[in-house]
Structure formats: structure tokens, C-alpha cells
């Protein structure tokens, strides 16, 4: 199973690299034209969503093949807004090293795969980031038996890391900055990196701290491992789209803000129908009772109602997938609403 998966990943990676080369050579100009993505999605009848596939809580198919996770919910929300049906999504599992090529080449319409928004990616990859939907930071996991209490004690340690990530760069930076020597062991997929860590090939495993909590559950003995307190980087995770289709980027961006606005306004999956009768103008505009806000996106005016009805608000998705309602039990922290000391701030719909 795993061996097959690795083989598939390698094949996939090569295939994607070739696909982008061929697509660019033969001229996939249509995919980059104005507002074309929404039309292509509607004609196709399904949203192609680039997802993780290996990260519990964010994007992973369960044994029955049903995709679940925080990033998965986001794509379901977009599908709900377009089709009024959150199941009209085709999830394409991507590893870190092929995710951008998959988006560039048009294999996926949106990349919702715990991807850090950095300036270099934003300016040189031909992609745009829509909105930060998860504020994360990189951390380290070690075996308890090593009796390490701080990442600063990791001088000379071997660290397993996934290749082609900001994690790989932060790791080198952090060790250099603290005058520690590093032996990194780099793997193409997160599964391989975790497996090598679990077989003691490395002393430590590093990724975004949300990913550490998810990965810990996959270890042979999760309780024999701890996550160190240091957070060594800023990892604002954001869905991304191809540059040049501004309307499509608006749809993705406002899907996120609609979910945050809903949480701020106390609108959730269970009370959304009652809220249609609300007198509050913010809620009436959000749910499309007043105004034509969805129409200007090329959608219907009840676009946000559909999202909340089918997927829920931001807080619901968070708690269900990675928060207290999940095995991960990640605290809201920076991802709490701005009214509760966090950074999630819904932009006004008006």
C-alpha cells in the first residue's frame, strides 16, 4: 500500500512536471484568460481541488475514500457556493514538490493544501494567495526518551523534513542563527519523512506545528513523542489560485471571509435558516436577503447561505477538523476571531 503510494507519488510528480511543460509548450492560454476558471468549473460540473492527502485534520481520505479536513472543507465551501452541492469536488492529492506545478498547469482550480504565503511564491510562481485561513508556525517533535526540552538543545541532531517546503528553509535558517550544526534528511513526502523518524533514522521531525499534532497520531507510540515549545517561523497558510483570473480569486477569497463573517455574526450551520429572518443588516447582506453581493462574483445571491448551510462557519470547520471536536485538539490560538484575541478578521460584506 505504502510502497505503491510512493511509486504513485513519484510517477505523479514526474507526470506533473511533464504536464506543465507540455501545457506551456502547446499553449493552454484559455486557462489564464479573464474569469475563465469559474466557467470551466461550471461546464465541468466539478471543482478540481489540490489537497494534501496525507495530513490528518487538513486533507486526507478516510478508509472509505471520503475526504475530510480543514483544507478539504474549504474546497467543499467553494463547491457549495457554485453548485449548492459540497460533494461536487474532485480532490487531487499533491505532495509539496508538485503542488505549484499542478496549479500552474491547470490540473487543479484551487490549491487548498496547507501552503505558506511567501513573497517569493506570490511574485514569481504565477499564482496568487487568496486569504490566510490558518496562522501556523513551524515546530519540532522529538522522542521523550531523548530528554530534550527545547529546540535549542538540538545541536548535531538529525532532523527529518519534507522537501520543497518553507519548512526546509526555516530549518536551515534556525540552526544557522543559533550556531547549531544540522544533519537534515530530506524526503519527498511527509509520510516517508514520518516513517523514517518513527524508525529512529532522525532524532527530530519538523513541520508546521499543526502538522506535528496530526503526524504524531500516525506514530507507532504517539505518547512517547513530544512537540517542543519553540515555534521558529511564521507560516500563514492560504489557499492559492492562478494569477490572472481576478474574479476567480475573489470567489476564493470571499468564501473564506463569508465563513469568518458568519462566525462573527453568530450564524452557523444549525441556525442559518432561522437567521434568514434576522433584522440585523450585516446578517441580511451575508445571507443574500439584501443586496446582490454573490451576483457580482458570478454566483447567486445566496452563495454564502449555501456555504454556511452545507459546510458551516469558520469556527465550526476548525473545531470539527482540527480543534476540540477532533483527535488533534489544536487550540484556536492565533486563529481565534479578532474579537477573542486572535487574528481572524472577517472583511465587511457590503
Amino acid at each position: 500500500m505504502l510502497k505503491g503510494q510512493i511509486m504513485m507519488n513519484i510517477m505523479k510528480r514526474l507526470a506533473t512536471a511533464f504536464a506543465v511543460a507540455i501545457a506551456l509548450c502547446l499553449g493552454a492560454q484559455a486557462a489564464f484568460a479573464q474569469s475563465a476558471t469559474l466557467k470551466a468549473v461550471q461546464d465541468r460540473g466539478v471543482l478540481n481541488c489540490g489537497a494534501n492527502g496525507q495530513l490528518a485534520g487538513f486533507g486526507m481520505p478516510d478508509p472509505q475514500g471520503n475526504w475530510t479536513g480543514f483544507d478539504v472543507d474549504f474546497c467543499r465551501a467553494i463547491a457549495a457556493a457554485i453548485f449548492n452541492d459540497p460533494t461536487k469536488v474532485k480532490f487531487v492529492p499533491l505532495i509539496a514538490a508538485n503542488r505549484f506545478t499542478a496549479l500552474q498547469s491547470g490540473e487543479v482550480d484551487v490549491l487548498s493544501r496547507n501552503t505558506t504565503w511567501t513573497m517569493e511564491r506570490d511574485t514569481t510562481l504565477g499564482i496568487d494567495f487568496a486569504a490566510v485561513n490558518f496562522y501556523d508556525g513551524q515546530g519540532f517533535m522529538v522522542r521523550k526518551a531523548l530528554k530534550v526540552n527545547s529546540a535549542l538543545e538540538l545541536n548535531d541532531a538529525s532532523v527529518c523534513v519534507q522537501q520543497g517546503t518553507t519548512t526546509e528553509l526555516n530549518l536551515a535558517d534556525y540552526f544557522r542563527q543559533n550556531h547549531m550544526s544540522l544533519k537534515s534528511v530530506t524526503f519527498a513526502t511527509i509520510d516517508e519523512a514520518i516513517k523514517a523518524y518513527d524508525s529512529s533514522r532522525c532524532d527530530s521531525f519538523t513541520t508546521d506545528s499543526s502538522g506535528l499534532y496530526a503526524s504524531r497520531l500516525q506514530l507507532a507510540d504517539p505518547n512517547a513523542n513530544i512537540v517542543l515549545p519553540e515555534i521558529i517561523s511564521k507560516e500563514p497558510l492560504s489557499p492559492a489560485v492562478r494569477q490572472g483570473d481576478d474574479t476567480w480569486e475573489d470567489i476564493v477569497r470571499w468564501t473564506h471571509y463569508a465563513m469568518v463573517d458568519a462566525e462573527e455574526l453568530g450564524v452557523n450551520q444549525h441556525n442559518v435558516d432561522d437567521m434568514l429572518k434576522s433584522d440585523a443588516p450585516d446578517i441580511r447582506r451575508l445571507l443574500g436577503v439584501e443586496g446582490q453581493f454573490g451576483v457580482s462574483l458570478g454566483l447567486t445571491k445566496d452563495w454564502a447561505y449555501r456555504i454556511i448551510k452545507e459546510v458551516g462557519n469558520y469556527g465550526e470547520s476548525f473545531e470539527r477538523n482540527v480543534g476540540q471536536g477532533s483527535p488533534l485538539k489544536i487550540a484556536r490560538g492565533l486563529n481565534a476571531l479578532w474579537t477573542k484575541g486572535g487574528l481572524q478578521y472577517g472583511l465587511p460584506i457590503r
Partner: protein, 392 residues
């Protein structure tokens, strides 16, 4: 020529001109398509706001690499430097893999033709088992079995001579040279050169007089004893730094990564199975009469194999052997599955993803493999010509 008798010369000339025109047209069309594809790609990249060109080459890489044969640091080295690191790692594992696969393959191929039932069937079993299981699975088997079987750093196995073995790799004492060691090297090189001259002279003498000459002990004296004397005379200018276990890892010594060991094992053992078949075919291609003739001359079987059978078999062996070498080099890119930092892992992996310039990076990577393969083919062809020239 009979053909020119049948058709008048003018129509033949016309046909030739037509052929040339056709070929020129074909080249123009292919060239035109290639140009259009490249031009279109560049235009589309620009329209999609994707950076293009090779400017990234001199940007700082920023990521760490676990095995570097040349100086490399994440903070100061460039993507270009990372490319060379990856390329050298590919060449290292391919080069050593080719040597091991060749030695093992020849041994197994010859063993398979042995009259000893057990030896020939063991060799046959090896070939059938190894060449019928996908290489990637074998690679994962070696990597995971190597990793799981080896002890943790704290329980490292001490090897005779001061080496250490654990799941972080094999650590050997690192030789440290003091001034004066260059005399030892000079003595060694002189010894090797003198032995080669001696051998050529002995050959020529045998050709002239028919008297064989045993030069083994003289060569031993030149290559081993002479440098040893120089070593003692200069006051033993060599010491070793021995690996020791630190808090997490082994410090000091020469490090051989488990990823490297697994890849090398998998590549050599897999390719050796194919080389064994190539060698067997080559030997069987030599007519049996040659063996009988050698026997009739009173040559012992080992001498007959060395001087009569193998030289003739080599002419058959070299072309398919070249293909096996090329396969091994290209298969080394499976390193990506186990985290060995070869060209594909470092350059078409980390560098591609950090720069996002798939077209350039993939094109460079393909060109490099093409170049390595062509050079290997060229060398093997030269060797093929060298041994074919002896044919009468």
C-alpha cells in the same frame, strides 16, 4: 553497377535530389515545431506571470543537503552549487554501482555456467529472483531492512579498526595526513608506473621469445613495499580521527549514509543480475570448439577462460553491457524514494519547488542525464573498438 544499367542516370540524379529535398524539408519542419513550442512556452510563461530564464542559478539556495562531496552551506551556496552537489552524488552512486555490478555480474554470469550443480543453480536462482522484482521495491526493501536492522546511535556496533555502525550510517576513521605524506604518494605512483612498464616489457619479451615471465612479486615490491618504506622513512605521517558517539549523532570520521548504502546495494545487485545474463550469453556465443582447442593446447580451464574465452566473449558482451550501465545511471534517480540527495532529489525536487521554474529545471535535468549517458556510451564504444581491433 547493375542498377545504373537499368535506370537512366538522369532519373537517378533526380531521385537523389528529391531525397535530399525531402530530408531538408523534414529538418525544417521539426526545427520549426521545436522553435514554435519554445517560443509559445516562453510567451505563456510570461502571460502567466511565471518567472522564466536561468537567473535563479545564482540565488541563495537556503536548504541543507545531507551528503555533499564539495563545500556547500545552506546560508551562502547557490542553487547552481546545489545542482553540482546533486550531480556529484548521482555520479558517485552510479560510478561505484557500475564497478560493483560489473564484478558481481561477471562472477555470477560465469558461475551460472559452472559444472558444479550447486554453484550454477545458486547463480541461476539469484538472476531469476533479482531481475523479476521491480527495482523500486528492492530499493525500499534494502532501505527499510537496513534501517530496521541497525542499532540506535547509543547501541552502535564497534567495528574492528575503530569504525562504528548504527542506523545513521557507517562511520569509518578519517585519515589525516601530515607533511611528508606526499613522498609516500610519489613512491606509490612511481611503483605503479614502473609495474606497468615492466608488464609491457614482459609481454613483448614473451611475444619475442615465448618465455612467460612472472612479475607479480616484483610489482608487489614496487607498489606495496616501496611506499611502505617511504612511509616509515618519513616518520609515519598519517593519523586517524576516530568516530565517537555524541549526544545525538556520531561525530568525526567518514560518514556513509544508510540512504547511500541502500541505493548502492539495490542498484548493484539489480544490475548485476542483468549483467550476469549478458556475460553468460557472451560466453555461450564463443563456439565450443574454442574451449576444446584450448584444452588440446593443454591450457587449464581457468587459463583458457581468461585468455581464450573471455576476450572473444567481450566483443559480444560490450554493447549490451553499455545498456546496463546506462540503465543503472538512470535508475539512480529512484533515490528520490528514500531521501538520497541525488540530482533528481536535490535539483528536480527542492530547487524546482523553491524556484517554481519547472520548465528550466526539468530541461536541465534531462539534458544532464542525456549527457552522462552519451559520454558513457562513447567510452564503452571506444573500449569496444579497442578490443574489436584484435580480430583477424
Amino acid at each position: 553497377m547493375p542498377q545504373s544499367m537499368r535506370s537512366p542516370p538522369s532519373s537517378q540524379a533526380a531521385r537523389r535530389t528529391g531525397n535530399i529535398a525531402l530530408q531538408v524539408a523534414l529538418v525544417v519542419i521539426v526545427g520549426g515545431i521545436a522553435y514554435a513550442a519554445i517560443h509559445n512556452a516562453a510567451q505563456n510563461l510570461a502571460e502567466a506571470h511565471i518567472a522564466s530564464g536561468f537567473g535563479f542559478w545564482n540565488n541563495t539556495a537556503g536548504f541543507d543537503i545531507s551528503q555533499t562531496l564539495i563545500d556547500y552551506s545552506a546560508s551562502t551556496s547557490t542553487f547552481g552549487r546545489a545542482f553540482w552537489v546533486g550531480l556529484l552524488n548521482t555520479l558517485l552512486v552510479s560510478g561505484i554501482g557500475i564497478v560493483i555490478a560489473t564484478v558481481l555480474g561477471f562472477a555470477v554470469g560465469i558461475a551460472r555456467l559452472s559444472r558444479n550443480w550447486l554453484v550454477s543453480h545458486l547463480a541461476g536462482g539469484y538472476v531469476e529472483l533479482i531481475r523479476n522484482v521491480p527495482l523500486l521495491l528492492q530499493l525500499l526493501f534494502w532501505y527499510n531492512s537496513v534501517l530496521r536492522a541497525l542499532p540506535l546511535v547509543r547501541g552502535s556496533v564497534s567495528l574492528p579498526g575503530g569504525g562504528l555502525l548504527n542506523n545513521r550510517g557507517l562511520f569509518l576513521p578519517r585519515p589525516e595526513f601530515s607533511p611528508g605524506f606526499e613522498y609516500v604518494l610519489v613512491a606509490l605512483l612511481l611503483g605503479i608506473a614502473a609495474s606497468i612498464v615492466l608488464r609491457l616489457w614482459a609481454r613483448r619479451r614473451q611475444d619475442r621469445t615465448g618465455e612467460p615471465m612472472r612479475i607479480f612479486w616484483i610489482a608487489f615490491g614496487l607498489i606495496v613495499v616501496m611506499p611502505a618504506v617511504a612511509f616509515v622513512a618519513t616518520g609515519a605521517p598519517l593519523s586517524f580521527s576516530f568516530p565517537t558517539t555524541g549526544r545525538f549523532n556520531v561525530m568525526g570520521g567518514v560518514e556513509i549514509l544508510p540512504e547511500f548504502a541502500a541505493l548502492l546495494l539495490a542498484l548493484s545487485i539489480y544490475t548485476a543480475a542483468f549483467i550476469a545474463e549478458v556475460v553468460r550469453a557472451g560466453i555461450l556465443a564463443v563456439p565450443h570448439g574454442q574451449t576444446e582447442a584450448a584444452q588440446a593446447l593443454g591450457l587449464r580451464p581457468s587459463t583458457a577462460l581468461r585468455y581464450v574465452i573471455v576476450p572473444q566473449a567481450m566483443r559480444v558482451i560490450v554493447p549490451p553491457l553499455t545498456s546496463q550501465y546506462l540503465n543503472l545511471i538512470k535508475n539512480s534517480s529512484l533515490a528520490v524514494a528514500i531521501g538520497y540527495p541525488d540530482l533528481v532529489q536535490v535539483f528536480a525536487g527542492s530547487v524546482l519547488n523553491l524556484t517554481g521554474q519547472a520548465v528550466e529545471v526539468v530541461a536541465i535535468t534531462m539534458a544532464v542525464y542525456l549527457f552522462i549517458s552519451l559520454v558513457t556510451s562513447l567510452l564503452m564504444n571506444l573500449y569496444g573498438y579497442a578490443i574489436a581491433a584484435e580480430e583477424r
